[in-house]
């Protein structure tokens, strides 16, 4: 019994890694610039947003290009994971029709491959930040915790949306629409300090607030999230994570019937 448990867990990780490798390999296949797109995308976004928003920013944010860039990196990971993760069960129907296997590796491999990209981009980002002199070892736990929070929230939400999308294909469209609004509901292009206090509860419901703020603090030393923000964001993250896990678990048995 114990032996089968152990080999099952090992099989899960091997499968997850193989699927992630597949994701990584197939993403830049038939592209000319390959991994260059990893940083080219957020740089282009950053340049445009910087150009536009610097016209009507009342209070300038220190190191605004860097501020934008770190927020965009985090956001790109999140939105790409959700965009690709939500329809992934339907897209990978050929795998699900083949054999009984832990289906959760399908969305998880998408998230993991995006996460590897994200970490690589983050490492490239560190180089210019080193010259800025805002980075110190004391901030490392904040960065680490921000990443854990981001990963937990993305996994929970992707499991939820990918499981629901099998039966209700509306979910995919809903997620697309939501992501556009969500981008502006997260302090990426602006600072949280411009939000009037009576609306603050909205940002407290959005775990991406703390994630972005923790990263901004970690890399650039810009004010960290407050205790109320952080704790309410953590609670939402845990709730979404557990909800996603349980919905995925109960729905995954029936995937084959709906695809």
């Amino acid at each position: 019994m114990l032996f089968t448990m152990k080999s099952e867990i090992q099989h899960f990780w091997e499968l997850l890694w193989a699927m992630t490798e597949k994701e990584l390999r197939s993403r830049y296949k038939y592209t000319i610039f390959g991994f260059f797109w990893l940083v080219a995308n957020p740089i282009m976004q950053m340049v445009i947003i910087y150009f536009v928003f610097s016209f009507f920013m009342k209070e300038p944010i220190a190191h605004y290009q860097y501020y934008l860039f770190i927020g965009l990196l985090v956001w790109n990971f999140f939105s790409l994971s959700l965009t690709k993760g939500t329809p992934c069960i339907v897209n990978e129907r050929s795998l699900i029709k083949k054999a009984r296997f832990p289906v959760s590796v399908v969305p998880l491999s998408i998230i993991l491959s995006n996460f590897i990209h994200f970490i690589l981009a983050l490492i490239l980002f560190v180089i210019p930040v080193l010259f800025l002199g805002t980075l110190s070892f004391i901030h490392l736990p904040h960065i680490f915790f921000g990443l854990v929070l981001l990963l937990g929230f993305t996994i929970g939400l992707s499991l939820l949306t990918s499981a629901l999308n099998v039966r209700f294909r509306d979910v995919n469209f809903f997620v697309q629409a939501l992501l556009i609004i969500w981008f502006y509901a997260t302090p990426i292009v602006y600072s949280i300090s411009v939000i009037p206090y009576k609306f603050m509860w909205l940002w407290r419901l959005n775990p991406m607030t703390s994630v972005v703020q923790l990263m901004q603090y970690g890399f650039l030393g810009i004010s960290p999230p407050g205790i109320a923000m952080l704790s309410s964001n953590i609670i939402v993250t845990i709730m979404i994570f557990l909800l996603g896990l349980s919905v995925f678990r109960s729905e995954s048995k029936n995937f084959d019937d709906w695809i």
């Binding site: 090992q10 699927m19 795998l95 296997f101 979910v171 084959d256």
Partner: protein, 249 residues
Amino acid sequence: MDKTTAIKLTNVSKDYALREKSTLIEKFIKRKNKIFSALKNINLTIQKGERVGIIGSNGSGKTTLLKIIGGITPHTTGIVETYGKIASLIDLEAGFHPDLTGEENIALNGLLVGMNQSEVKENKKKISNFSGIGQFIKRPFYTYSSGMKFRLALAVAVASKCEILLLDEIFLSGDDKFLYKTISWLRGINRRQNLTLVIAAHDPMFVWEFAQRYIMLDHGKIVELSINDVMSIRRKNASLWKKIFPHTI
């Protein structure tokens, strides 16, 4: 159950929910879905090492039965017991990624059918040799012909050391040479390793070379066929063929 049982189905039924439109709002308006019973109260015991042919017209539930045995789709009621590692060849493209090469697909597909990383590495050469698709092994899967896809899928299943093999008739689409190789291999491994074989086909002709026991599915119900029944079905089908294609011999 005794140790010689490979597959045992007790009162197994399978209902599919039918829905014309699948929107979230509709779900809340009318909760009840129409139901289509694909399988009704199936009782079936297959011994280890048996070669079973499942006969039935299109839509009679053959594939659903294979999928339930393989654990790919859940059954609605009843008990499904299987003993031994199962590999299924039901859908030609299943378990393969069109953009990956044959080699890369072997790794993925192997893990999917329950091999571990080291087994995949060990068997990579063997699989590509058995499949006999030559230099195509380094080309993406979408460039493959149906025959090649079949060969690769079968080769992986062979290497996975499965104890129960589920085959749908689509998998009898390889060319003569490969079919011969497949038949002789399946017989050999059936004899040597006590492989349990379940093959679905709409005409007994396709499974004639494999099966020693025949089961007929008719609108979700199961009937055990004697060899005489099978012969009369074959004769009936043969005369039907003559009617459809009067100019062939």
